[in-house]
Symmetry: D3
Subunit: 237 residues, 6 copies
């Protein structure tokens, strides 16, 4: 049995709360159980230097954790003077995941920066961040549409993400921190609303995993993402 | 008339919500109108190197702003690679203010780190931070008392802070961002529950101010802090 | 047809040259075609602070690229003052991959640092690095065994890695740079000699990929890693 | 009685020596007793990026301490790799204080950088720096006037600064290091030649201070600044 | 007798292997015995900002060491976050030495960056680097000539370098690491093909050296550089 | 004729003023004409980690320039966040030069840090720094002797330095800034009181120099250092 007492294919309660920021063009506070991530989308009328004059836009992401989002206080990255490898890895993943469903030409020469800040962490912060970032991005694009800044559709599909893992030899969905730290394998799947796979990251923490185990994780993830996409759809009604 | 339509001596709605963090020993989400600051107090069983072996504790503070807490997105300090002068100045102020009401001997050889992270900014973030930090610190100390970690009182008084300024030649209390950017003088007062002054910072933005104007600001601040201390008392009942 | 004229399941010529460093306890110059990576394993009689006194060792990796390893000269990370997110991500991957086949208890309280420096790059540097790093690590451990520093086996299996991708709708094995920059999907697989999976990283560069496509990549990778493990075995005879 | 044997309202011997730098457009070596600060004003025909094209100039300040300006050698900030929070706080204060008496429009699109480097420290370095910086700035502007670079007055008033504190329950003027480290309250006042207040910074080091005590400090500071402005006037005759 | 058993005026075996990089416009792997340095010359169609619009080019150099190039593993400078003083000193020396034989006007508004990366170190890395860098630079310029990018000769002379030292009171040529760490005096000489001196760096490690000793070192160096220039000439036939 | 109208072998007026710092154990303000360097020697009862427990001391040096020591204001290294290659090179040179005349065993397990800060620059700052640093160091050691902290002689000889150069084909002594920027060759010589050579650094700025020219520079330097050592002797009477 899982520490969380959830069934193997049972996700935590997920909520997506829009419009939580007075200033951002789009925002979403996403909760996967006790994991809370604030996602804001900020529109800027400029693109990175290497993209100038190409008539295309850019979507990027930054990720951070408040120092006491975790059980033990972590050192503030701004005070340490650099972002950790983990932080850089996660924000690159979020950016790639969002760009997989954005038509950068339709966006025009503009950049949208999505900030994902973990207010409270209990496992699965990167997958919650991707799921919530899509909602913030969607609202930012709606904001632009309302001002006639874009004509063609910019967001061409949903994208959401969920973690899976092998806990005491059983494949389980949506690991919380207690489960994650005990899991033998930890995997993150990013998928689109139409069922395409955008990113797979699977890591054996202790012993290697088999192809069969991997297939079981993929099956769980498909179920989870499908449920998350439904929640995204309801949230933007 | 103020942009906020408030009377000259009228503060914004202030709320102090405790217990907002699953992990921290003490926490408080403080709101001064649209300024929202999350304060967490983290207990660590160690002190800075220069304090070791002296049988005394330490209270320190760190301050940060989410990149889109403000009207325009600001660069993330962790990504820039250093904290700005403004950030360092504010976190030093918060730390000094809290230590002014803490008996460091009674705390024992431990450190409490108070993180003040601005979720949304609309002027007065440093004064809101100090006011909320006291509540988080108080809960952290209650947490220690409940575990018999301390015997003598550690927190010897309340401390709270408020900004004042001269807006169109009129001294006004608790400036929001619109008022702050137009104010001729900007002042922050940190005071204790028993009426002592802990810190005064007054700055002429444009033309210098007179002694009379300063006295008017001090009078307003006294009123404001007294109200904030009442709110702190109600919040910890 | 692939730019490299190779068959879809054909790897580049792979060589593993041992003993290339006068100083290192183990070393290997690995070549996957025009991708050349120098791997050295350095033994140190100390472990990271967080591991002290636990009677276990550690294996870590660092990755770097010479500035002109690539078609255009890249800025030297030492001169920029920090390692890029890509560098940090790759060296974390190499370290995890090696630790998956190391018995850290049998190693004793020591650290082996494996440096993987790309002398020349033509795609697939991280997979070449993992494959060569295993050989360097194996020689380092042989060096220790020859000095009676360890008794139980430290390296419990082989580990090797290969990239795959979808190029013009066809799944292909071992992408060189020209193929990689055109591929729709880019995946890296790390597997053991006994067929276990250690790490999967698959990324859709343009459009999402399907589950079937992913299975095809996995099949190719299995073939490739099996060949690489054979080459490792021959190299250490 | 004060350690310095001075009366409560007695300042240290103050000297302002002009023209001490062969290269700078304006310079002043200011001494408040054993506190010696070298102030140089450097004219540059450019403004910060955010001010370009607005037909206004800028005055900024930087502050530093030689490593052995103090009783114990401090680490060199250039070698540490960053300026401390204290340094940033002080140089921001000096810059604001000078700009309070400068007509930035009359300056034209140019920047004057005032460097304040502490050659020897014995308390009150920031107030000495502001007082000497005004003299350096005045000479820099005279240098410009002599070359017909400006027509309208740029410097519209004097500005000077002094510290006060409460030492053994007595308000005293101009603290040296020995007094400062024992003082219960430490305050810095920046005022203009015409009596306006530019900046007040008052900090309770131990116990909070009362409004009456604050008024006493303000009275002392007024006296001290008035004397410093007289000395500035004499120095530029 | 020297640890290397070489005669006092005997250099190590020197080889200069050209065309070792698939990507660089010019490259050379230089070996002075067990000291191996990879030199690549990269052409860029831009000059540093301070040189723009002056119709002249620039030649610069960067130097690095792989972490396990040495007997003990050194920390990677990219991971430390800065280049050491030694590294900066050496790369400045290499750049100056090359520029001494380059006609920057004839180069046109372009920059050539020469990277010298020490693959394996056994003393004399900076002198090997200069000697090999000249060959890489020469090939880069030949590459440009073949594309009619330049007309006048850019490289006006050879430049090469050698170390000398006083080992057990005897002046010796081309110190390896074992000799260098025991030498009382360590000197590096950079000279041109026509016998001019470009740079002299002589340092007493323990006791000062005499003028006679210095003359002996200079004589040895002249011999050594003359031999190196011959080898350069043969390598580019 | 030299811009300075000095004869080819004529130095600028040199003064060595001792005891200029209230706090440092030894200090000297050295002037070579308009080049002014403040040297302080600070005693610390600890050695660098790599020297602990070896019963020997250490002498190290740091070098800095005030931003407006030069004709154009330079950026403050503390604000840039790192010391330039030039700064690191110079402070390593000063440290080596001083250690060449110190008996580190006789010093005991202590470190003396000599800070050389250029108050005003007009060429030759590194040679002035070495010359003045010796005086500061000598006073620091006298301070220790007066407190019976050392018994054997610590400073075993004088050390001083001077620059030479080839200006319009003529070898000249002690270049000021105007001469230095026009010189074809620039050389620095560090020598002891007994005539030994500690360090030679000679650089061709434009065309290479000949052996004869080098000998001429060496002859001039010998003369200059001999005069500087006389001045050191007079200064410490």
């Amino acid at each position: 049995m899982r520490p969380s007492k959830r069934a193997a294919d049972e996700m935590r309660a997920v909520t997506l709360e829009r419009g939580v920021s007075k200033h951002a063009e789009g925002s979403c506070l996403v909760k996967f159980g006790d994991t809370h991530v604030l996602c804001t989308a900020s529109l800027e009328e400029r693109v990175p230097p290497w993209l100038r004059g190409q008539n295309r836009g850019w979507v990027t992401a930054e990720y951070g954790m408040l120092p006491r989002a975790t059980g033990d206080r972590m050192r503030r990255e701004a005070s340490v003077g650099k972002q950790s490898g983990r932080t850089l890895e996660i924000q690159r993943l979020i950016g790639r995941s969002l760009r997989a469903v954005v038509d950068l030409k339709a966006l025009g020469e503009r950049q949208i920066s999505v900030d994902c800040d973990v207010i409270q962490a209990d496992g699965g912060t990167r997958t919650a961040a991707i799921t919530g970032a899509w909602v913030a991005l969607n609202d930012c694009i709606a904001w632009m549409k309302a001002r006639d800044m874009i004509s063609a559709p910019v967001l061409v599909d949903h994208v959401a993400a969920i973690s899976c893992g092998i806990y005491e030899d059983t494949p389980v969905l949506d690991l919380d921190y207690a489960e994650d730290s005990e899991a033998e394998t930890d995997a993150n799947f990013v998928m689109t609303g139409s069922g395409g796979i955008v990113e797979v990251q699977a890591t054996a923490e202790g012993k290697p995993f088999s192809e069969d185990e991997f297939q079981a994780l993929l099956g769980l993830a498909r179920k989870g993402v499908s449920r998350l996409v439904d929640l995204q759809k309801m949230s933007i009604l």
